[in-house]
Symmetry: C2
Subunit: 183 residues, 2 copies
């Protein structure tokens, strides 16, 4: 197991309303010194939810994504707010984004998106036993809800508006999870 | 299909050596106006490679990740350099990071990591028919190469040093791809 590099110094080099960029100077065990830049996250992390309408059907959403500047298909997700735990955040997000709550929420794992330069963490939550409940969200336009067969992940991958690595990994994880569950 | 919002204005609000943050003002079809911030990428994108030593064994790497501040297990990856195509970049990265070249490279798909605020795109490349060839990389310490059975993705997920969504999605994609291939 490799030894962690020693932190020689750090400073904020750029900052905006949403982002904070930190430069860190590190010394590796072999004496090499390197300066890295990284995005500093909010700390509480995010949730990404796999809402199952029934064991064969997942509810995807289609919404505008400013980074790629187009509408993207993916799973509902959002930041964990102060005083919320992981499952509360997951249930709030699906009420806001797909109009369902869940009576059965299960945290499957935690994923990172670019650990080389982001501390960002996302908890993957499986939501089953759904019931209709809509909470107002803060989206600028109505989110489209798209039911999708869980056994048709390959046709999703073939579309060019479904690209998000976390959403894809989460769908595979849930399919694995369900296949191991005694029915 | 939803209409794309209209761009009312954009400006760079923060910048560092590696990152550039842009604020964009958008007007949605329903008249709502929103300001978003997004990270502006390099444009050429990145490659993430799934190198198979044999049909049952993938070569993972373990290296220090500055964002999460610890050593992470994952797949080799890197930026596409100027004048490189996708497969050339993939072959260079595995020569630098795992000490193998590939005689059979195949681009499977393209993934995003956070399309809501990043334009970043990663091409997923399957590398088979490997042969030993080591090129010098720019890593501050030696990268550890970790052979892993492709049928043991669940034990990888259970580890807390394997978290990267793109690496996980890519392993599942390759397993699917191989299962469809006539043997």
């Amino acid at each position: 197991m490799s030894e962690k590099p020693r932190l020689l110094g750090n400073r904020i080099v750029a900052q905006s309303r949403l982002f904070r960029i930190e430069a860190v100077e590190l010394e590796f065990a072999n004496g090499n010194r390197v300066e890295y830049e990284r995005l500093v996250g909010s700390g509480r992390g995010a949730v990404l939810i796999v809402p199952l309408l029934n064991p064969q059907t997942v509810l995807l959403i289609r919404e505008y994504a400013a980074g790629s500047d187009r509408h993207e298909l993916g799973l509902p997700k959002g930041k964990i707010e102060a005083e919320e735990d992981i499952l509360e955040a997951a249930n709030r997000e699906i009420k806001e984004e797909i109009g369902y709550g869940s009576r059965s929420l299960k945290r499957l794992t935690e994923l990172s998106i670019a650990p080389g330069y982001m501390s960002h963490r996302t908890h993957i939550v499986l939501a089953e036993d759904l019931y209709p409940e809509r909470w107002p969200g803060d989206e600028p336009e109505e989110i489209e809800v798209v039911p999708w067969p869980l056994n048709a992940i390959d046709t999703l991958v073939a579309r060019d508006d479904f690209t998000e690595a976390r959403s894809l990994a989460a769908l595979y994880l849930v399919r694995e999870h369900l296949s191991r569950k005694p029915s």
